[in-house]
């Protein structure tokens, strides 16, 4: 599953950047953006697994992925509310990082992004049976 491999690679890359002390605003913004998109792609994989075709959606794709994840996984009790809302919050952090240059991204935002990502990604892997 290319989406799972990609998400793992992004997580490893982010950890390496932080270990190397790459703590600059551009790097923080790149990290939040990549974490969100890696999570978004895992969401699309989850939806393909229940027969949907997100690659054919051309409008409101990010919202629709969240909406369909709720419908197919959260409301059925397969995914926790916390994992689902983690994707929402990653999306918000990514938007903040990419559009509001006047708002500094802080290390606590990066740590928060990492926690949100792992919460969501771990649960998706459990549901998909990929450990």
């Amino acid at each position: 599953m290319i989406e799972i491999d990609f998400a793992r690679e992004i997580l490893a890359m982010v950890r390496a950047f932080l270990l190397l002390g790459m703590r600059t605003q551009p790097m923080y913004r790149i990290i939040l953006s990549r974490l969100y998109y890696a999570a978004h792609h895992v969401g699309r994989l989850m939806l393909r697994n229940v027969g949907l075709t997100p690659e054919q959606w051309y409008a409101d794709v990010h919202r629709r992925v969240l909406d369909e994840l709720e419908r197919h996984f959260v409301s059925t009790g397969t995914m926790s509310r916390n994992a689902w809302r983690s994707l929402w919050q990653l999306r918000q952090l990514r938007t903040l990082a990419d559009y509001t240059l006047s708002t500094p991204i802080r290390l606590r935002n990066i740590n928060q992004g990492m926690t949100l990502f792992t919460t969501y990604f771990d649960e998706c892997r459990r549901i998909l049976g990929v450990i």
């Binding site: 409008a59 969240l66 509310r81 918000q92 952090l93 938007t95 903040l96 935002n109």
Partner: protein, 77 residues
């Protein structure tokens, strides 16, 4: 009710006692509104409160991005 007014009402209902500041931003892409909340502390049931707000707004047809930042008193980058 407009999206900003409705969102503000819901956020005050769920997070009023924890709230330091509510910052409205955007929209930047296809979403309807972005909000960043600065909280005194994180409620233990934040996930449930956040879920209720998102679910309600989605049912009303609104796509609102809500961020939560617990203020730790530091400006460390």
């Amino acid at each position: 009710m407009e999206v900003k007014e409705l969102t503000e009402k819901l956020l005050l209902q769920e997070f009023g006692e924890f709230l330091i500041e509510m910052q409205f931003l955007g929209p930047f892409e296809g979403e309807d509104l972005d909000v960043n909340l600065i909280l005194k502390e994180e409620p233990a049931d934040l996930a449930d409160r956040d879920y209720r707000i998102h679910r309600y707004l989605l049912d009303k047809g609104f796509d609102v991005l809500i961020g939560y930042d617990v203020w730790d008193g530091s400006d460390e980058l």
